[in-house]
């Protein structure tokens, strides 16, 4: 255990959150088709019809909807959630003109992505990063698609995958996260609209980062994306998602499902930079980020690695997990979660060891400031047949100010005596002494805090692709602006 640091001066933190500005809070003025509010079978049929889906997929949705109707929303998380009225939101929003190519995208929308730092025009794109841009319920465009196709890699929107690669989608959809897995996953399975689809064929190492950029724009609309990534034998893919939304006083729901599947000797790296609108300093508005993410290492020697940087959303409920089915498979979870103002996060992972010699690593860094509440919740489960399973868990929390909270709930279930587990946990305050030390060397308080917090997160940031690690550091500094004063 690290030394418990000296309590921060209350003056030092009060103003932090008040000054923070969310720079992605603008709204794009674009003509959109939005379904009337409300959820019923008819709405689901309309979504399915809109996307010209095959019957089996409509059945998948309706089956999920039936399950959802019988389920209760989870109340075990350490979160205060206002009752959600599922009939007071719309389940489909799309710009009216559906673009066939970049030239046809509404210039307002192109400008939106420019402002977000994700230019979609080929000449402006980030080198080595292919982007799928999801705007409310639809994918607008996927870049570098043709270049990837030359290697047999499929990277497209989920809707397109259903049309063009139906057999693969049908084979894998709902296999890692069954339709009735949990309340929000069932809701997603019933009403999901778009997301990304990735298939990397045998032996192919994807030469660029694949990324999806999720943007919520329409009001009173939920975003329910579905992403499916399949890495065939011996392949490698690194995928990244980013998220932002306009500033609104009403909360909006984002309930996504992400399924990953790694075959023999395959590796999937999945990184998230989540910067949904966090609500204002009084806790009004913000995105409810209720997400089910799970990967199955079905093949031997396969590896799935989750890295997440969660700085946005008013409430985050998210547990990216790994099922380690194949022998010698490896699961990893690296997380930074920051809660500021009235933000709440209940996040962590599940590592389910089924195969022999399976290994998992969990590194969680929670940062709480203002009145933020930050919870790590994790399960490490070792089944009877998982001989020589190993897990290393490290949960560190840092507190800024004296009104925030950090909580840790590690669950462990071991059914095989050969398992080896290590668990380390620390909680510390950003020390007045640390800040003073930096100041004495010439830095101002804000730079000092940012330096200390970024140092705290370093083990996680180093797992991110380089450009995004820089972005993550910047985002963290922005989120902490004004927290000392």
């Amino acid at each position: 255990m690290r030394e418990e640091l000296k309590i921060d001066n209350d003056q030092a933190t009060k103003e932090m959150l008040e000054k923070e500005e969310y720079k992605y809070g603008f709204v794009t003025d674009v003509d959109q088709e939005i379904f009337p509010q409300g959820l019923n079978e008819e709405v689901i049929k309309q979504i399915s019809a809109k996307k010209e889906e095959p019957k089996w997929l409509l059945d998948f949705r309706l089956n999920a909807y039936k399950k959802w109707l019988k389920m209760k929303d989870p109340d075990w998380a350490k979160l205060n959630i206002d009752k959600i009225d599922y009939n007071k939101m719309s389940y489909f929003a799309s710009p009216k003109e559906s673009p066939k190519s970049l030239d046809e995208i509404d210039p307002e929308i192109l400008e939106t992505y420019d402002k977000l730092g994700i230019p979609l025009e080929e000449q402006k794109m980030l080198e080595g990063v292919a982007v799928d841009a999801v705007f409310d319920s639809v994918s607008l465009v996927t870049t570098f698609k043709d270049k990837l196709a030359e290697l047999g890699i499929i990277f497209c929107s989920f809707s397109e995958a259903v049309k063009e690669h139906e057999d693969i989608v049908k084979k894998y959809l709902g296999k890692v996260i069954p339709a009735g897995d949990n309340y929000f996953a069932a809701l997603n399975a019933a009403v999901f609209t778009d997301g990304s689809f990735v298939y990397v064929p045998k032996g192919v190492r994807c030469p660029m980062e694949l990324s999806t950029y999720f943007r919520i724009n329409a009001e009173n609309t939920g975003q329910f994306e579905r992403t499916l990534i399949i890495a065939d034998e011996g392949s490698y893919v690194s995928y990244l998602e980013g998220c932002t939304a306009p500033k609104r006083s009403e909360s909006q729901l984002h309930a996504a499902c992400v399924e990953l599947l790694a075959h023999d000797d395959a590796t999937i790296k999945y990184s998230t930079i989540q910067n949904w609108y966090p609500g204002d300093k009084n806790g009004k508005g913000g995105i409810y980020n209720f997400v089910t993410k799970r990967g199955n290492c079905v093949g031997k020697n396969s590896r799935i690695s989750w890295t997440q940087v969660e700085t946005g959303s008013s409430i985050t409920w998210k547990y990216p997990s790994c099922i380690l089915t194949g022998d010698n498979s490896v699961g990893e979870f690296y997380s930074v979660a920051l809660t500021n103002n009235w933000q709440q996060a209940d996040t962590g992972t599940k590592m389910i060891h089924l195969g022999k010699n399976t290994k998992s690593t969990i590194v969680s860094k929670g940062i709480s400031a203002g009145q933020g509440q930050n919870t790590y919740r994790g399960l490490v489960k070792v089944n009877e047949n998982a001989v020589n399973a190993r897990n290393y868990t490290q949960c560190d929390s840092i507190l800024i100010g004296d009104k925030c909270g950090a909580h840790t709930f590690p669950y462990i279930e071991i059914k095989n005596p050969t398992a080896q587990l290590e668990h380390e946990a620390t909680t510390s305050k950003v020390g007045e002494d640390q800040i003073f030390y930096c100041q004495q060397r010439g830095m101002n308080e804000e730079d000092a805090l940012s330096l200390i917090v970024n140092g705290f997160c370093k083990e996680v940031f180093k797992e991110l692709p380089f450009e995004f690690a820089v972005e993550a550091e910047r985002l963290l500094s922005v989120s902490l602006e004004g927290s000392v004063g």
Binding site: Q434, F436, Q440, G442, M443, N444, D447, I452, G455
Partner: protein, 246 residues
């Protein structure tokens, strides 16, 4: 350069400094010695701008201007450096990164361009070589897992890189073996120049064999009770402090 005028300071109603006056000119090395609890470290903290203390009377002038209202980083940017008695650990931040941020903050305050990582590393390696320290020091997490001696040496390295004109060493010698002491003293001596001043706070005369002071002051009960040259330190070594306590 530094002038402390009749300084009174207290912490939580306890008066610690009771009218301390001291003047340090360019190029001078002053040493303050004194028994435990006499206010030595309080003086160092106050000079650096730590906010825990109430200055009830007196003033601190740096190059003729009062610094009482200045934030710690402004003082640092003006060239006041404190080698901490207990250097602070910052996990995950490398020494090199920390020092570059610090140096660039100081440069920025003077309107100079920030140094790029490559430029900084070149300077840092040069300094580290002169100080006969190990290069690996730069890539380690700031003070994390450092031995006591390494921490103190690291303070001297920081001083050398940030190049302040007024360095305050707060018991930098405590806990050092003789080899480390020599490295620290060499660092200080190589930093000495006609435009740089030092305030060396120590318990022991030993350090002053290596860093030879121009003046030695004895701090007892929050006041300087006697001043002299380096021979005063030797006298204290043999006689202790009691003869000066009233």
């Amino acid at each position: 350069m530094l002038e402390i005028v009749d300084l009174h300071a207290k912490i939580e109603d306890k008066e610690i400094l009771k009218g301390l006056s001291l003047k340090i000119n360019e190029g001078e090395v002053h040493s303050i010695m004194g028994p435990n609890g006499s206010g030595k470290s309080t003086l160092a903290s106050i000079l650096a701008g730590k906010e825990d203390y109430d200055i009830t009377d007196g003033d601190i002038l740096f190059n003729g201007e009062s610094i009482l209202e200045m934030a710690p980083e402004e003082r640092a940017q003006e060239g006041i450096f404190l080698a901490f008695q207990y250097p602070i650990e910052i996990p995950g931040v490398t020494n090199s990164y920390f020092l570059r941020e610090a140096l660039n903050s100081i440069r920025k305050s003077k309107g100079e361009n920030p140094l790029k990582p490559v430029e900084f590393v070149k300077i840092a390696k040069e300094k580290i070589k002169n100080l006969k320290m190990d290069e690996s020091l730069l890539n380690r997490s700031l003070n994390e897992g450092f031995s006591g001696g390494e921490k103190k040496r690291n303070e001297i390295l920081q001083m050398s890189i940030l190049d302040p004109c007024m360095s305050i060493l707060d018991e930098t010698d405590s806990g050092l073996d003789i080899d480390a002491l020599q490295i620290v003293a060499n660092g200080v001596n190589s930093h000495r120049s006609p435009d740089k001043s030092f305030l060396v706070i120590t318990h022991y005369q030993r350090l002053l064999n290596y860093i030879v002071p121009d003046f030695v002051h004895v701090l007892v009960g929050g006041k300087i009770v006697k001043s002299g040259d380096k021979s005063l330190a030797l006298e204290l070594e043999s006689k202790g402090y009691s003869w000066l306590e009233s």
